[in-house]
Symmetry: C2
């Protein structure tokens, strides 16, 4: 979302996440990576996004370690892009977005249905605590304010790490 929103003074993990994945098209590029797309032409055809925009999104996703380029053709040299662990860990963000969009905008009418294999029903995603395993409702959490670095500083540190690497 960086384009028109400046989150640099916020000190918030949500703002920091949006700084990387909140950009137009980015979440749909990642969505399609989850459904198996890995090549520029596949995304370009499926999303109908401008080639320069798609190229910029893929570059950013690689720079942030969300997608990883892999050579699939030596000559001509061609890369495909696969989700890293960091990228795969976005599945919960996409599934909760899908759940909300299905519930409030599409009903069950969208082009892709998500089935929970264990119970066989359409997935209605809720939250669970990875620490204790319990379901988490909104009333079960507490927000604690504390001093924290602004997003701008965090992004600068991440860039410095990348350049050092």
């Amino acid at each position: 979302m960086g384009r028109t929103a400046d989150y640099s003074k916020q000190s918030c993990s949500i703002a920091a996440a949006l700084e990387v994945i909140g950009d137009p098209w980015t979440l749909l590029v990642i969505r399609d990576a989850f459904s198996g797309l890995s090549r520029f032409e596949q995304w370009q055809e499926h999303l109908g996004v401008a080639r320069n925009v798609l190229a910029a999104r893929l570059k950013t996703l690689v720079a942030h370690g969300i997608l990883e380029p892999r050579v699939y053709s030596e000559r001509p040299l061609r890369h495909e892009y696969v989700l890293t662990k960091k990228g795969k860990d976005l599945y919960a963000v996409l599934l909760t977005l899908h759940g909300w969009g299905s519930k409030y905008m599409y009903g069950d009418g969208a082009g892709v249905a998500i089935i929970h294999k264990a119970c066989g029903n359409l997935l209605d995603p809720g939250l669970a605590c990875n620490c204790c395993g319990e379901k988490v409702e909104r009333r079960d959490i507490e927000l604690v304010k504390r001093p924290g670095k602004p997003v701008g500083e965090i992004m600068a540190e991440l860039r410095a790490k990348e350049e050092a690497a």
Copy 2:
């Protein structure tokens, strides 16, 4: 995200959700509503967002039934904005974004910590199936493609409903 991305030909609940809440600043306006902000000046001061941008975001969120205006002063006439059920149901989207941003960008250093009261630890959000209650990992779901209406059509239907209401 509508500004630079056209999702209208997609048939996907994720794209439909982003069409409404994926816009720059929108998710942070909703985030702040969860932490108790309800008045224009509060958001404007906390986000440092341009007044015309904030006004447009609030208008969209009200139009989509995510925020609900309430009069808090008769003269001068002043409204505050509170989350509806539809808005409150976005908590899982925000918490999974917060979890990912905390894990991969901030560590535990962000300005707001989210505590899971039941176990007392920082919330590491996973997914649960609201139908069977089981935890949901990425391998537990299956994507099923099916014919579906494009987002553009869905948005037009929603607009028509609003106008009829």
